[in-house]
Symmetry: C2
Subunit: 132 residues, 2 copies
């Protein structure tokens, strides 16, 4: 079963114009959707890179091993689940983590997932034995 994603039309402010991007309101963000968004290696890589800065980053900043259309898909999943905020800066779409929103809803979740992901990346890179 896939987590329910709020339709784009429900949360876009019409006054923001046709180029505005749909984001779930705080009350619409669900733990299942956030976990689903984080459960992909490419999306987790995007989130880890965004976590290293307070700035919004253009999609072109990310060097990802997937096509441009797949990249766009991954950013949309992250935005529609409430993990990232996206906006236009000129002609470029820029993205930032919704850290405060996620921390308000699910305290510690994002930090714990990022730490787990970092540990795994270090372990795999070093070929270290697993604990236990």
């Amino acid at each position: 079963m896939e987590p329910t994603v709020t339709p784009a039309s429900a949360t876009t402010d019409p006054a923001a114009g046709p180029r505005a991007l749909a984001h779930p309101a705080l009350a619409e963000i669900r733990i299942e959707g956030v976990l689903h968004a984080l459960a992909d290696p490419v999306r987790l890589r995007i989130v880890r890179q965004l976590a290293d800065t307070t700035d919004h980053l253009a999609c072109s900043t990310f060097d990802l091993p997937v096509s441009k259309s797949t990249t766009t898909h991954h950013f949309r999943v992250l935005r529609e689940s409430g993990v990232i905020h996206q906006t236009y800066r000129g002609t470029a779409k820029v993205s930032g983590l919704r850290t405060e929103d996620l921390d308000a809803l699910f305290p510690g979740l994002l930090a714990t997932v990022l730490a787990a992901s970092d540990r795994q990346a270090e372990r795999l890179a070093a070929g270290l034995p697993t604990p236990g």
Copy 2:
């Protein structure tokens, strides 16, 4: 992109006989697979129920709003991702959380996800306003 799941044949001990169930070894458990397993409302419900006991529970213990075959699928996803351990007790399959393994690999992850899930369930049940 779906997380890679270790094929059943790779991790089953042949000496354990044909009824043994495949489980990933500790070194094979991946954060992406664990998050994917937890990103479903039914599977999260199973995990929350298992977290309330140290005992292994039979699949029939769970009152889930899905068919028996879907239930079996959800338990398999949880087992193949490394979230639960399953074994036969007589003719019944029983399941328990791999809490120690998950805590060794990803400290705090399971507890944080369970707490986030509990908070959301309480908020939705009470119709409480969201924070912020």
